[in-house]
Amino acid sequence: MTAGASAIAATAGGSLLPLAILLPALGVLMSLLLGGRRAEWIALGLMPVEFAVAVAIACLVWRSGQPLVYTLAGYTPPLGIALRADGFSAVMLITAGLIAPAAALYARANFATPPETEKRAPLVFWTLLQGIQAALSLVFLGGDLFNLYVGLELLTFAAVPLVSLDGRPETVAAALRYLLFALFGSVFYLLGVALLYGAYGTLDIALLAPLVRPEPAVWLAAGLMTAGLLAKTALFPLHLWLPPAHANAPAAASAVLSGLVVKGSFFLVVRLWFDVLATLPGVIPGTILAALGSAAILSGSVLALRQARLKLLIAYSTVAQIGYLFLMFPLATGPWAADAFSGGIMQALSHAFAKAAMFLSAGLIAESLGHDRIAGLSGAARALPVTFLALGLGGLSLMGLPPSGGFAAKWLLMKASIEAGQWVWAVVMAAGGLLAGGYLYRVLAPALSGESPQLKKAPARSRESVALALALVALLLAFAPPSFFTFLQIGRPAAGVALQ
């Protein structure tokens, strides 16, 4: 009971948590109201503040070694709503706080507003980008399952119109399909929430965790909520919406969609299984999730090999890399659990940075060459060295070659799976790495040889630097000190507590 009480008691510095959500929300409202160029200024002006808040939250969590908690409106759960920041939340907040501004800086060239007028695409872009930030903050910090549903809806409504931003029919169809899958996901999630409330009378994660028993209502809720979240995360076989949506969106939007938005629903799958349902016997569900993940890795990589367009190849690569995230689930209990957890998070982080870097680079390539056909890329690396360097370094992380965050992630996951005796996941990861090498070779090999093509326009050095910086972060994650992994464990229930 004391553990439950301390989990819902507000902690010092907790006021930062609502601020992380309210600042971008205010940005959305002010951007629509004031319009024109001011939307861009508000977005760019608030981003450093939001990053500072994310860093402050992380520092407070690190200093206290406990999750940060805040109860809203002065009413404690179960009647009120709580926000909670553990190590995983803080790290994801910082990741979002870095990638969103990077995409914003890159996008200034695409979505500039002339003075005195307001144009459609810039206003929509700057407003929705802040909407994504608000939604992600809510998803990472929410401690109440219905509050998280509102966060999921916020995320969907902010992300879908970004896909159809340039108005071509293919993008509108891709956005519609994305919306339908996302709505399917939301209603399934909501149905699970209804069942959990019916069973236990509360939706607060910390209060639910000790109450949950393996009864039919809980199993059905778990299945429904997971299926819904998998549709939003585009895990095989519910991934059909992702490649056309991410490949046809503007480059900055694709970076945010692949790097951050799909991580939001993945974050909730982890919250669900590791926090709310931690006492359920998780071997069979975990194995099912990892099997789907393996199918995603293999099918996504093979399909990436067959793509003719660079952006579609990168999008199918996202489908494959999302599969790696789910290999941590069957390894959630036992002495290797901490490694598996760290590996999964590290995969989420390094993929976010690497994929964002790759989409921004692909955007620069498409703008400079006038197309993104892989067949037409020969010699392009001579003409666009920095851009291809960013693309290559991001690819390094995807393949899992050292030194990169992707290597660290796969190393941890392989270690955990071999120690657990579930070596099949290690084989899948090795195969995935080889296939990733294959599709990256398809792009980089012709680019590095052959005659340098004519550039329609040279990319701005600042935009190339942004893409390169993101790729370097993905590499630097390899050098995370052991204290980083200790930080990730803040807020985890004691390892191995789940029933088996």
Partner: protein, 114 residues
């Protein structure tokens, strides 16, 4: 069988019907209708949970009722966005289909200009 249980069973049936419509019907507008149906079925499940939580002089637990009200508003907003997408698709192309052959460029497509 109380009215609440009956409503809950109807809700379960509506979820099944709506899910079938969402997956099986190829027209986007029918999918949107089916999504709304499914949503209202889920709200009925909240409703039976609320009714079973009658206590303290209230006939139904107010918290699930508030969640349903929020859900109805969000479902309307989602329908509005989806309808706007369908109508835009129709205006641009004369058809409103999600048929993937119409929109995904074939894997070896040569006309892949950005």
């Amino acid at each position: 069988m109380t009215s609440a249980t009956l409503a809950g069973l109807v809700g379960a049936a509506l979820v099944g019907l709506g899910l079938y419509g969402l997956i099986a019907n190829p027209q986007p507008l029918r999918k949107i209708l089916a999504f709304n149906l499914m949503g209202s079925g889920i709200f009925l499940v909240f409703g039976i949970v609320a009714r079973k939580g009658a206590a303290a002089g209230l006939q139904a637990d107010p918290v699930p009722q508030a969640m349903v009200i929020t859900g109805i508003v969000v479902a309307f907003a989602a329908s509005a966005l989806a309808v706007a997408l369908v109508l835009r698709l129709f205006e641009d192309t004369g058809q409103a289909t999600l048929n993937p052959d119409a929109w995904t460029k074939p894997p070896d497509g040569g006309a892949g200009a950005e």
